[in-house]
């Protein structure tokens, strides 16, 4: 349901964008409404892996930053489309504790921890709708398809026994093609606030938003799905891949954009006084 809603919103935004592309050419004095901006963006995300067939016992998201460049083109005073290209870290942590009997009268707690850190290039295309006309801070909502190409990463898996009855078992190394689908396509949606600041002659937009992203593709590698892997760190469950694995994240993003043209007074401006109607 959530995915369908996101896709619907993205579809609507696409229609608006296409409509904007075929719009009548601007007159000189109309350029101010259609601003092209360029800048930097960074986000801090809580990343997590979720499984279609598994209820997780502990929530332990992996916190990681991403940073890159952003461009945005305001198609009108309400709609914009942008592109971010970021170097991102995604992945997840899995932790669980389970009481395990060692005899009829004794038990121990076993703790398994898995940390997967994926690094790669991420491209986001946010379609944004800005509310309001002349407010100091303009709220907005956005939806964005997000494409990630993983270039590397590492993993760490360990099993420890609370009572020390067995030596901790550790596997770690670099992420390979067998561990993850080499690319990911996600849908992101969120809301934020945009401020238009002016320092001397330099104007810029500061955008802060919170978004939720969910991968649309199963992140299990083809080898994992086919069972064509030699497992490690997984006891004797060889060849069993159950259901699908998705990535989700909650991210706080800060974007700083410098308009290449002078923005309209009401685009996102709180330095301008409201215009008085002409008599």
């Amino acid at each position: 349901m959530r995915k369908r809603l996101l896709l619907l919103l993205m579809g609507l935004m696409s229609v608006v964008m296409v409509q904007a592309q075929f719009a009548k050419p601007l007159k000189k004095n109309e350029v101010q409404d259609r601003v092209f901006s360029i800048g930097v963006t960074g986000c801090f995300a809580a990343n997590d892996m979720i499984y279609s067939e598994v209820k997780k016992s502990l929530l332990s998201p992996m916190l990681a930053p991403s940073y890159g460049l952003a461009v945005e083109w305001n198609a009108s005073s309400h709609f914009s489309v942008g592109t971010d290209v970021s170097y991102a870290t995604r992945g997840g942590n899995e932790v669980f504790n389970i009481e395990c009997l060692t005899s009829y009268s004794t038990s121990t707690f076993v703790r398994e921890k898995y940390h997967l850190s994926l690094k790669g290039v991420e491209i986001r295309v946010p379609f944004t709708f800005y509310f309001g006309e002349k407010s100091r801070l303009r709220p907005y909502i956005f939806v964005a398809p997000r494409f990630c190409l993983w270039t590397g990463g590492n993993y760490h898996w360990e099993r420890t026994y609370e009572d020390g009855s067995a030596e901790p078992l550790v596997y770690e190394g670099e992420v390979t093609q067998a561990m993850i689908r080499p690319y990911d396509l996600s849908a992101v949606a969120g809301a934020g606030l945009c401020g238009h600041l002016k320092m001397r002659q330099i104007q810029f937009f500061v955008k802060f938003d919170l978004g939720y992203g969910h991968s649309l593709l199963n992140t299990f590698s083809q080898a994992e799905v086919d069972g064509d892997v030699s497992f490690q760190g997984w006891g004797n469950m060889d060849g069993v891949t159950i259901g699908k694995r998705f990535q989700q994240n909650l991210e706080a993003r800060l974007t700083l954009l410098v308009p290449l043209q002078k923005p309209a007074a009401d685009a996102c401006d709180f330095n301008q006084k409201p215009r008085r109607p002409k008599r």
Binding site: V110, I123, M179, P182, V229, Q232
Partner: protein
Amino acid sequence: MRQRILKRFVMTIVVMLLLPSCLKEGDTTVLVQDPQMIPLITDYLPEDLLLLFGEENVHFGYRPPVVDMEFKSQHEFVATNLEQPYGPQPGEHSPITYFHKLSHQYFQEADYAGMTSEETRCHLVSPVYLMGNGNDFTVYYYEVLKTEGSPEHAVLMSGTLTERGIKDFTYGYKIMGYKGTDVPNTATPVNTIFIFRDWDGMAEKYSWFDDNLLNHQKLEEP
């Protein structure tokens, strides 16, 4: 300018999609899935059954092997709490052949189908619980049989998974009660426990299961 930027963007996406994976090649992975919180065997089964079955025959652990197998067992009595000489003597062979099928559903859960050579229909229990480590496993569950009086059994079985079948197969149950109203006078008393093991130590892999043998009705846990 707008069109040029859009064109470049689309080109970049296309090129990236066509790029081969940047990740290194490898053939190992780490699959992390939560095990279920299944009931502990000591909380679940009656203590007297566990004691008579013997701790040494129970395989503990939370990573049992994937047991997807049909097999049959021919039993030798190991122990019972029936007063002698009315009960079977240890070492005595049972004339009944047991047929089992375990279908692994999840890490510590499976479906069990079973019947004896005296029955014409098999029964299905879902889920049954598994524990163990490596190739050693223990299965435990409750079942209500469709035989006379509908006895309810607490069941425990264990062994080691091999290519040929289940090695050191041990099987035990306790009659918890009778669910039916037509309990015959000759029925084995409630609370009786029987412990068996396969007489040659190996419950052989054996293809026996047929959908037609099912009652087509899942039995509920007590």
